[in-house]
């Protein structure tokens, strides 16, 4: 027996629901895929350096993070060291592996927006004066990586 008009309508409504849910999932996933392919455009620019002197002196570097993709990105610390002058010369001002984001463990940069992220790293008491003069004369150069996560995928972004 042929299905009644009513059950045909209900089944068509079911088809519309299947289409709508899979289309919503597809659009969200495909835009994340495009964002992932364009992940190199996420840009880190050091905006400000500040030396906090004390018993345990730290250097605070403020980064402007620009995320031009269409999906939110989460930023975590990778490994980043601030150098005095050319990083290739290896004149480190901050102690490697002490760098961490100020506040939370990670920061979210919304799609198409720019956010500021503050990174703090310890400075050895011996190099505090050198660090201060490097900041004052604009010789401080950060070099290293941030860990960036788009949905469930991560990569290391060079700075």
């Amino acid at each position: 027996m042929v299905r009644s008009s009513r059950s045909q309508r209900a089944l068509l409504a079911g088809l519309v629901v299947v289409l709508a849910v899979s289309a919503a999932a597809f659009v969200a996933t495909a835009s994340a895929q495009l964002a992932w392919q364009q992940r190199d455009t996420i840009d880190f620019r050091p905006a400000d350096y500040e030396l906090v002197d004390g018993d345990d002196p730290v250097l605070r570097v403020t980064f402007e993070v620009r995320n031009p993709t269409s999906v939110d990105a989460r930023v975590r610390t990778g490994s980043l060291v601030v150098y005095d002058g050319d990083p290739a010369a290896g004149d480190a001002l901050t102690v490697p592996r002490t760098e961490r984001l100020e506040g939370d463990r990670d920061a979210t940069v919304a799609a198409g927006e720019t956010a500021t992220v503050s990174l703090v790293a310890s400075v050895s008491p011996d190099t505090v004066e050198q660090a201060q003069s490097a900041i004052d004369s604009g010789r401080a150069v950060p070099s290293g990586t941030f860990a960036v996560t788009v949905r469930g995928r991560s990569f290391q972004a060079d700075v």
Partner: protein
């Protein structure tokens, strides 16, 4: 002309009736149902494949169920067995083509070099694996379950 379009509309809004109807009605219902189920199966398969980039609610189970539901809807909408076989064939072909197109699309949209197509080979290998072990079996399973349902309630 208006009679023509109203006939088309009726075939699409009452696919079960149309699947028993004239040759043109059968064709219209099979093509409409096959296209729509094939497209939704392809979109769900793509999300299943790129699971790491999918939003939280679009998990593997949900997406697998969608492909299964699409397969069942082929037979439930195109009730006539002969018409439903044509609709399922269309759904499988359209689903495969759409999944392959979605895999290749980022390269074309973002103008990423493919080294004369060599870079696309791993993507297409993944697509074939997905089709053979995911999409087509799930579509077929849903379709067969719907046949059993129709047989049991006949």
């Amino acid at each position: 002309m208006s009679e023509d379009t109203s006939g088309l509309w009726k075939a699409m809004t009452h696919p079960s009736h149309a699947s028993y109807g004239s040759r043109r009605d059968r064709l219209v219902s099979a093509v409409a149902v096959g296209l729509l189920t094939g497209v939704s199966a392809a979109m769900a398969t793509y999300t299943l494949w790129q699971g790491a980039l999918a939003p939280g609610w679009a998990g593997d189970t949900v997406m697998g169920s969608l492909v299964f539901a699409a397969g069942a809807l082929v037979k439930l909408l195109c009730q006539n067995l002969k018409t439903s076989v044509l609709a399922l064939s269309i759904a499988v072909v359209v689903g495969a083509a759409m999944t392959a197109a979605a895999a290749v699309a980022p390269y074309l949209l973002l103008d990423i070099g493919t080294l004369g197509g060599i870079a696309l080979l791993p993507e297409l290998r993944d697509v074939i694996t997905l089709l053979v072990f995911g999409q087509v079996p799930l579509l077929l399973f849903g379709y067969l379950v719907a046949i059993v349902y129709d047989g049991a309630t006949a």
